[in-house]
Each structure stands twice: as structure tokens, then as C-alpha cells.
Amino acid sequence: MLKVENLSKFYGRKRVLKTVNLQLERGFWGLIGRNGAGKTTLLRCIMAMTTFTGTIKINGKNVKEMPRSDIAKIVGYVPQLSSQDVPLSVRDFLEIGAYYRNGNVDNVINYLGFKEERQINTLSGGEFQKLLIARAMIGNPPLLLLDEPANHLDIKNTAEIIEILKEYSKRYLVIAVVHDLNLLNFVDGVIALKNGKAKILNDVDSQALEKIFDIKVELINAGKYRFVIPRYNGFIRKL
């Protein structure tokens, strides 16, 4: 499905991604790493929204050679920031997102349960995030990229979104940038970015997380779930 070969990305002289190689089929993947590790950059490269060296192929097609409209048909993208302040209705917003897709907006509106004439600037943070995810899913693109989909969401909205993504990832590939490491309980696999290198973590243990985040952590087991707690001792005194 997704094949990344020798991907490198420079910002000026700074090399953000160093010969990244990845091959993913389907499922729900969490993308983790420190701030500035290149998570968003990796998503932007996959969508060919920025220049890079190396090749990225989706379903065997090189993204660099695809017109934007073709990429939009096979990749759904949920950005960190969107335009909630534009005076558009829910229907307008979804229709704009469907211009280059073959999908039915009516189904999406029914699924969301929002009134189609409701203005998007009256939606709560959680509702708007659901709208963004729904927009990205119009026409069922086989690859879904999400940049911090659970950011600013309360526990109920987070659970709903995770459920939606889990369901979608049964048939398609979903990659989500995740900062709340406890959400890794619900993913099928984890990709970690560190010093410009990407690595698939087979074991999400404290050792691996400490290496990625440069901080001591404790893992607490509770039934089938594991929780990550950072160790704060000494940090405040050092300040």
C-alpha cells in the first residue's frame, strides 16, 4: 500500500528526515516522536506537499508524478489546523472537501448527525474535529493521514474518534500522529521518529520510549492496557 524508500528531507541545511524506509499495508498506525522530530514533515512528504529526495509510492504509484487531484482521491488528510472561522455551513464545508473525490456528502452528514445548515464556527472543538475526519474519509481513500487527531479533545470525543479510526483501519491504512502515548493501547503498530530516522517499534516498552523521548518513563500495567507515566523527579530542582 504505502512504500517509502530512502526518503530524506532538508529544511535549509537542517536534515529533518534521513533515509527513511517504511512499508505498510493496512491497519491503525501511531506515529510518535518528540516535537520537531519530523512527524508532520513525513505526512507532508507522503502527500507530496513539499519537496524531498527518495521515492514514496502509494499503491505502486509514485506520488511525485501524480497530479494533486489524484493524490487527493487516494489520501485523506486531517491537518493540525483548519479554517473553522470561515463562514461556511457543514454542507458547504464537506462539499468543498469532496470536489476531487467520488463520494456522497449526504451519507456523511447523516452519519455525523449535524444539521447541514449549521455554521462550522458554531461547532465545538470535538464536533469540528469529527467533521474534519469525516471530510477526509469522503470517498473512502485507502490511506488516511491524521496530524494529532485527538488534540484538545475530551475523553468521550477521543474515544469516539479512536473507534472511528479503528473501524476504518480494518480495510484501509491509517497513520495518526499521537502525542498521548496512552492511545498507543489502541493501535496496531507504532512508528517512531528519532534523529531523522524512522523505526517500527515491535515492543513499546519503557526502554524504547525513553530512547525516543529522552525522559525516564514508567509503564503501568492494568489488565490488557498499559499506561505511560513520565518520571518528574529532579526536573524541577534542576530549573
Binding site: A72, P87, L88, Y99
Partner: protein
């Protein structure tokens, strides 16, 4: 704003219906009032000598020109606000006003008849300059606006220097405020292409809808943002330069008409673009009719602001109160 699609289309239909009414009314009104029946019979080949001169030779070209100018400025203003993602977007950004001013001043210095041609040519040259500088600096909407401001200040300093050497300031003053007082059939034929280009812009409504979102978002939804932005800017420059060549720097319409329409139909350009072009046309025609109705002609730019600002303030406050 929370109105349904039916309400939005009704507003567009209402404006379409209002267009011929406003044109007929404008033909009747003037220093010499001409009754409705006479206007109709004159338009269809009847009427006496005087009514034929007044309606067909004097009023009709001017009325149509004012309508087309407003139509085009409403279109260009809507497009500018989308492409610059800025509520202060105006067709005159990008150095079109300063370039046209330079051309106009040079025209007033050499030969009055060259004013439209030189205004058009300099508007295009300066907007190409502004665009090139903006692109060299990264090509983001804000960069383009800043480039327009910087180049505009430079050109305007030359313009003001040249104005000091003009023997008679009345002509250039009227030009700065915008005026259709000299419009006859030749000027109508000059402005006519901007009507057709503006109508053609309706087909770009999808691009405009995507361009008003964040660049990254528009790209991910399938738009080649840089290509679309460049094409839209070229059309804004062309449409506006033609209008400026004929009517001078008519302010207010391009900036405020899109906002007024947005308060009624929202930001979807499928409704906003037709609304803004029709409302712009009707609005500028009404303003020009007021401008020429009295015994002395008033520059239309003064009337547009005088009529439009209270309406705009009312809608702005009302939309806030409604929530």
C-alpha cells in the same frame, strides 16, 4: 448566515430580477426626467429626437458601463478576498491602483485621451512587478500583499511628485475618486470584455472555495494551489485594470460589496460570486445615478462610500446581534 440553499438561490434570483429594473430606472432618472413609456419606446426605435439623444446616446452607454464596472469590481473583490485569505482583500491590492494612477497622471500630462490606455498598461505592468517580487519572497498571500504595499508606496511617491506639476488638478482629482461623467459608447466597448471575463469566473468557484482555506488544506483536498492562485490573480488584474481604465479609482465596491453579500449568503462562492457581481453592478449603477442626477456631477466614489457605509454598518451590527 445560517440560511438554507433555497434562501441563497432566492437572493441571487432576486438580484437577477432587480438588474433590468435598476437599468430602466436609471435610464429614466437624470437632470431631465424621462417617463417609463418614453424610455421603452425609445429603446425599441421610437421616441423623439431629444429623448433619442438623451436615452440612447448619453444615458444608455453610461448606465451599462456603470453596471458593468460594479459587476466586475464585485467579482474581482470577491476573488481577491479569497485568494489573499484576507477580509481586507481588495481588487486594488497588487499595485493596480498605484500603477493605474501613474498611467493616468502621465496621461493627464501628455494627452487627456491617453488616460484610459496608459492607466490600463501601467496597472498591468505594476501588478506584474508586485507579483514577481511577492513570488521571489515566497509567494504566500501575506507576502503578496506586503509586496503590493511596498511597491505601491514607491509608485505613489512618483505619482504625487508628478501631480505637483499638473496645471489643472480637477481632472486627476475626479479620476482618483472615480467617475463616469465622460462615458459614451466607445468606453462601453472598452469595459465590455470585463463583463464576459467576470461571468466566466463563475466557473472558478470551486478554486475560490479551496483557496480561502489554508494552503496545506487546499492542497490535500486536490487543488494545485500555486497554479490556481496565479491564474486567479491574473484575472483579478485584468478585470480591474479594464474597469480602472474607464472609470478611474472607484473605491468601496470591490472591498465592501463581497462582505455585504457574505453576510447574506455565506462564504461559499457558488452563491457568493453571483451575488457579489450582481449586487456590485446594481449598487454602482445606483450610486452613479445619484451622482449624475443633480445639477452638478459628483464623483461616484464619494456616493458609493456615502451610500454603502451605513448599509454595511447596519448589516455588520445586525449579524452580530443575531449571533
Amino acid at each position: 448566515m445560517g440560511s438554507s440553499r433555497t434562501v441563497k438561490w432566492s437572493f441571487v434570483l432576486f438580484l437577477i430580477f432587480l438588474t433590468p429594473i435598476s437599468i430602466f430606472s436609471a435610464l429614466m432618472i437624470g437632470p431631465a426626467d424621462i417617463p417609463f413609456k418614453t424610455v421603452i419606446s425609445t429603446l425599441f426605435g421610437g421616441g423623439d429626437e431629444i429623448s433619442r439623444v438623451i436615452v440612447l446616446d448619453l444615458r444608455l452607454p453610461r448606465v451599462l458601463t456603470a453596471f458593468i464596472a460594479g459587476f466586475a469590481l464585485g467579482t474581482a473583490g470577491t476573488m481577491a478576498q479569497a485568494v489573499f485569505k484576507n477580509p481586507l482583500g481588495d481588487p486594488y491590492l497588487l499595485g493596480i491602483s498605484s500603477g493605474a494612477s501613474l498611467g493616468a497622471v502621465i496621461g493627464f500630462m501628455i494627452n487627456f485621451h491617453l488616460v484610459p490606455l496608459l492607466a490600463f498598461i501601467f496597472a498591468i505592468i505594476v501588478s506584474i512587478l508586485v507579483y514577481s517580487i511577492g513570488m521571489a519572497a515566497g509567494g504566500k498571500p501575506t507576502t503578496l500583499i506586503l509586496s503590493g504595499i511596498a511597491v505601491g508606496m514607491l509608485i505613489n511617491s512618483i505619482v504625487w511628485y508628478l501631480i505637483l506639476s499638473l496645471p489643472n488638478l480637477h481632472g486627476i482629482y475626479a479620476w482618483f475618486l472615480g467617475s463616469f461623467s465622460t462615458v459614451m459608447w466607445p468606453q462601453f466597448y472598452i469595459i465590455l470584455p470585463s463583463l464576459f471575463i467576470s461571468i466566466g469566473m463563475i466557473f472558478l468557484y470551486r478554486w475560490l472555495n479551496l483557496l480561502m482555506l489554508r494552503d496545506e488544506e487546499a492542497m490535500s483536498l486536490g487543488l494545485n494551489v500555486n497554479v490556481a492562485r496565479t491564474i486567479v490573480i491574473i484575472f483579478i488584474a485584468l478585470i480591474t485594470a479594464v474597469v480602472v481604465a474607464v472609470g478611474g479609482l472607484i473605491g468601496f465596491v470591490g472591498l465592501v460589496v463581497p462582505h455585504i453579500c457574505r453576510l447574506v449568503v455565506g462564504a461559499n462562492h457558488r452563491y457568493l460570486l453571483p451575488s457579489s457581481m450582481l449586487f456590485g453592478g446594481i449598487f454602482l449603477l445606483a450610486a452613479d445615478t445619484v451622482a449624475r442626477a443633480g445639477s452638478t456631477e459628483i464623483p461616484v466614489g464619494i456616493i458609493t462610500a456615502l451610500m454603502g457605509s451605513p448599509l454595511f454598518i447596519y448589516l455588520l451590527v445586525r449579524s452580530h446581534v443575531k449571533g
